[in-house]
């Protein structure tokens, strides 16, 4: 465990040093994340231009969901997607050998191999949106509510990461998967809406199959104080289950890896 943390620290240090070399990227990525925030907000603005509420959500409450969505997107673009591209490339070219030969946990190594802190600029935008929404709601979350939403957000990060590991595992069987990133992004896009907006098949899909509800809706509800303890606990255990499943599947997938030499 201590070794793993040391390794994580070393990888983060390297990422930070690398990113300091490309300081201009900070502005480029910052401008792009503002742009995407505007794109994300556009349909929301049009919906609430016509309606005061949607499926019980007011505009500022829905903004909370967007805030968590943007924050999570920062994590996705800054840490998850770049590593995903890296490992898919490793598998295709057979260079994963170099990672597997190292005396450390392979999953930890590949999932921290390419972290781009500047892409996390989204996260700043997310925090700003959360602040703005709370001011509009005239709602100051209690310490308990804030803590619950942060814990649920961490669960969301764990869940997102697990979904990503599961997706990467597919690449061991299907070698040419350059557009996995886009698939991931497009499913994740639905998380910008409160899950109660969806009905029927979509509700089922987004609650149980790809649990988008856990990603953004529950942290927002926790902040509002409308989330029950039971749902929160279920969300947490859901994240743990996904995490363990991802770990298992990744180990199984590694055994299917046909390296460059064999």
């Amino acid at each position: 465990m201590r070794r793993a943390l040391q390794l994580l620290g070393a990888q983060l240090r390297v990422a930070a040093l690398t990113s300091l070399q490309y300081r201009a990227d900070f502005f480029a990525d910052g401008v792009m994340s503002l742009f995407w925030l505007a794109v994300t907000l556009a349909p929301l603005l049009i919906v609430f231009d016509r309606r005061p509420t949607l499926a019980g959500w007011t505009f500022p409450a829905a903004l909370l969901v967007i805030g968590w969505f943007t924050l999570l997107k920062g994590v996705l673009d800054g840490a998850v997607n770049p590593c995903l591209v890296a490992i898919v490339e490793h598998i295709r070219k057979g260079t994963l050998d170099f990672v597997l030969l190292k005396p450390a946990d392979a999953q930890l190594l590949v999932s921290t191999s390419r972290i781009l802190p500047w892409r996390g600029a989204d996260a700043l935008g997310g925090v700003a949106v959360l602040g703005f929404a709370l001011v509009k709601l005239r709602h100051l979350p209690t310490a308990g509510q804030a803590a619950a939403s942060v814990v649920l957000f961490l669960a969301a990060v764990a869940l997102l990461y697990s979904l990503w590991i599961l997706a990467v595992s597919i690449a061991f069987w299907v070698v040419k998967l350059d557009n996995l990133v886009y698939l991931f992004g497009s499913i994740f896009d639905a998380a910008r809406w409160p899950v109660s907006v969806f009905r029927g098949v979509f509700r089922f899909l987004f609650t149980f199959v790809v649990p988008l509800a856990i990603l953004t809706t529950y942290p927002a509800m926790a902040l509002l104080g409308t989330l029950t303890w039971r749902t929160g606990a279920l969300a947490l255990s859901g994240a743990v289950v996904f995490f363990l499943a991802a770990r298992l599947v990744f180990g199984e997938a590694l055994r299917h890896y046909t390296s460059a030499s064999s």
């Binding site: 480029a28 792009m32 742009f35 995407w36 794109v39 556009a42 349909p43 049009i46 919906v47 231009d49 016509r50 309606r51 949607l54 499926a55 299907v174 040419k176 998967l177 350059d178 557009n179 996995l180 886009y182 698939l183 992004g185 497009s186 499913i187 896009d189 639905a190 809406w193 907006v197 969806f198 009905r199 979509f202």
Partner: protein, 272 residues
Amino acid sequence: MRALAPARRALRAFPTLLAVGAAEAVAYRAEFVVWLLTTTMPLIMLALWTEVAREGGPVGGYDTRDFTAYFLAAFVVRQLTGVWVAWDMNREIREGLISMRLLRPVHPLAAYAAENLAVLPLRLLLCLPIAIAALVAAGRGHLTADPLLWFAFAAAVGGGWLLGFGVMSAIGALAFFFEQSLAVADFWFGLFYVLSGYFVPVALFPAAVRRVVLALPFRGMLGLPVEILIGRIGRPEALSGLAIEWAWVAAAWVAALAVFRRGVRRYSAYGA
């Protein structure tokens, strides 16, 4: 006549290029299905907007069934007009692979066009069940009954494809000048999502915004063919929409050819 020789040559090679492209699409089935799944955004928007209409009645003249027809049609049109030439070009220019294409006697843009067109049969095969389901679910009354508008729809889809391909190959050719040309593609897609009718039918925009949107190229790539197909707009509006769309098509192709030609001149990969 000499000036037309390259075009004739491209035309003669086109069927073969198409056959090769189609075979490749079948070979990389998994990637193909993944790509199909990434374009499910219209279905999510369908779920969202039908809920809006269900809760509080029609919005901007669209009730739940209109939204269903609109977004199902949007899904099909997106399948028909999607191109990925910018990504291929960016990679091939960066890695110097484009040298191979430059050696061939067919203009590289024609070859890219053939590759991007060749997947359409396979995509149609996957789309048709959905199109039929749309017919049944949304009712026959939702598709335009005017035969002339069916021709207009075909012209709008064709124009949408040409427009998308023109813009995307111009952006792809920017890779001759700077590496990060895909960031431009991202930017373009962001605008496309909002302004083409992909997220929201153009009719739902506030009037002032709508006037601007109608003059921009984005609607031609999605909203226009969809609105024609589901009978939201009549002949005069379809005609003016087509005029704007095809003007943008011409502009995009002029830009693509110009950027490509200037790019090739400064291209300096090994052996070029």
